[in-house]
Amino acid sequence: MTKLNRDDVLKLARLARIDLSDREIEEFLGEFNAILSYVDQLQSVDVTGLEPTSQITGLTNVMREDIEIDYGYTPADLLKNAPAVQENGQLKVKRMIG
């Protein structure tokens, strides 16, 4: 049965770009192990000969004509909530390195 430890939780938090407090790590650890314990029941299910489901509509590539459509708003409209600074139609973010 799967059991996570503190390092595992920290690793996941890093991957998900979420900072956790020590108390949050402890709480999540207990909860995850309980939840994983529950979903582990799937390990014993026999799925021989079956493919995973990726979508349930049965649709295949839905295409449209390659023409310009006016949706009635501009990129600036769509980004008006953005907290990042906007220059020349681009988002200026904090430096990545250092």
Binding site: F32, V47, T53, T57, L79, K94
Partner: protein, 473 residues
């Protein structure tokens, strides 16, 4: 006794000039104010609603067609983008976010003359079964305010029962329309996956998210589905609507074969709920329906499948909330990476973080096969079993929830206990079939919902059957 006539009656009166859209909107806003202690609503959009109402009234005065839903007020769950209005998904990370465009479902309702008056409370990002995960406040069940309204569309269900509007919009990813409908005594309809466009609705789990109405009657639900259903070029997972629409068929019970799913009547089912559902089954039999026991052997694993697939998809969909594009950004970030992680730490509530991290785990290298891929394969097994069952019966029946509305705080410290509330609803989402919860009586004074399901794309028939069932149970 509701203060609202049926949706068709209201629209007819507005179109005929005997009632104005404005008076309907004012009535809705007044009721919202009067019932504010239930915390069903995050915000009203009064100015916008009155402007729209006046536009409708002007169209009527000019002798033009204001639409099939003229002057009917409605409330939208706050994960629907409504142009210009604050849309928060009940999360702190979207506080102050004003929708720069709007959901196709909202567009279609407005084009038909309906008027959105308010945004309803929900579990933040629709993660939850009780509306207790809202970052703002918990909604109280209208029938018993010490209890939860169910979730995640708890605000929408409560709003309808509190008579704030004739209908509300909700979303159903694992049961979030049907469960609050059951707990509050409303009708809650989950369409076939793909029948209603998800464009402009904040994404939770993209392979199961659906949009649907909460109403007092099946007829009203059918009218709303008829307006919002159909292919949308903005959502390439949408499917064709039925050419005869959704609100015109009545399906009498005689000759109908309904499968009662035995796995939904196991140990976990509350005895009071069981008694109500069994009584309803007898009533249906007495009216000529042929009810037989059916078994869906993989159904007990559906919840485990859901709580792997759903968090996985949630972790992907919520990665966009990075402090750069959507309203909130943490003020003390030294670099971009800190901006991401500090924003997400403060902006997201506990359940969002829980699901994101669980999803990250089941998708991560070394675990993907054992968890996500395995779950999606068990999902195939479940789909096959449902398809096979529908070769022998026309519809399926069971309770919507294992219990009636639980007390506020009862499950909020145990996530797994909370997840078990969805045990009867998640299958329909995983398989993509339509399902409805219809009020079926009470147990200890609390509403009990009866759930009906049909094969994929059989929405028209399901609604037709539901109209007959509604009058009997």
């Amino acid at each position: 006794m509701s203060q609202w006539a049926s949706i068709s009656t209201i629209a007819k009166a507005v179109r005929g000039g005997s009632m104005t859209a404005r008076e309907n909107v004012e009535r809705a806003l007044r009721t919202i104010e009067e019932k504010s202690e239930y915390n069903a609503i995050i915000a009203t959009i009064e100015d916008r609603a009155l402007i729209r109402a006046d536009q409708i009234d002007k169209i009527v005065k000019n002798g033009d067609d204001p639409g099939v839903l003229a002057g009917v007020p409605f409330i939208a769950k706050d994960n629907f983008l409504v142009f210009g209005a604050e849309t928060t998904a009940a999360s702190n990370i979207l506080k102050g976010f004003h929708a720069p465009y709007q959901a196709t479902a909202i567009d279609r309702l407005e084009a038909a003359g309906a008027v959105c008056v308010a945004k309803a409370n929900l579990d933040a990002f629709a993660h939850g079964s009780s509306t207790e995960n809202s970052d703002y406040f918990t909604t109280k069940n209208p029938v018993d305010p010490t209890r939860v309204p169910g979730g995640s569309s708890g605000g929408s269900a409560a709003a309808v029962i509190l008579d704030m509007a004739p209908f509300a919009l909700g979303t159903d990813t694992g049961g979030s329309i049907r469960l609050p409908a059951s707990f509050c005594g409303a009708v809650g309809y989950k369409p076939t996956y793909g029948l209603v466009s998800r464009s402009g609705v904040i994404a939770m789990a993209s392979s199961t998210d659906t949009i649907g109405p909460l109403t007092r009657t099946v007829d009203d639900a059918a009218i709303i589905l008829d307006i919002i259903a159909g292919v949308d070029p903005l959502d390439s997972t949408t499917i064709e609507r039925h050419e005869q629409g959704y609100n015109s068929v009545d399906l009498p019970l005689s000759g109908i074969k309904i499968g009662v799913i035995s796995e939904l009547f196991g140990e976990g089912l509350d005895s009071g709920v069981r008694a109500v559902i069994e009584q309803s089954i007898e009533k249906l039999r007495a009216h000529g329906a042929d009810l037989v026991d059916v078994s869906i052997p993989s159904l007990p694993q559906a919840l485990a499948v859901y709580y792997i697939v759903c968090p996985a998809e949630v972790s992907s969909n919520l990665s966009r909330y990075d402090g750069q594009r959507y309203a909130y950004s943490h003020p003390d970030a030294a670099n971009l990476d800190e901006s991401y992680s500090k924003t997400r730490s403060v902006g997201f509530g506990k359940e969002a973080k829980r699901r994101i991290m669980l999803g990250t785990y089941v998708l991560s290298s070394g675990y993907y096969d054992a968890y996500y891929k395995k779950a999606q394969t068990v999902r195939t097994k479940l789909i096959n079993e449902f398809n096979e069952t529908f070769e022998h019966v026309d519809f399926l029946l069971g309770p919507t929830a294992p219990t009636t509305a639980f007390k506020i705080g009862e499950h909020s410290s145990d996530p797994l206990q909370m997840y078990l509330t969805d045990i009867m609803t998640v299958s329909a989402n995983l398989v993509g079939i339509p399902a409805i919860s219809i009020p079926s009586g009470e147990s200890d004074g609390l509403p009990v919902g009866l759930q009906l399901m049909a094969a994929q794309k059989a929405d028209r028939e399901l609604l037709g059957l539901s109209k007959s069932v509604e009058g009997i149970i």
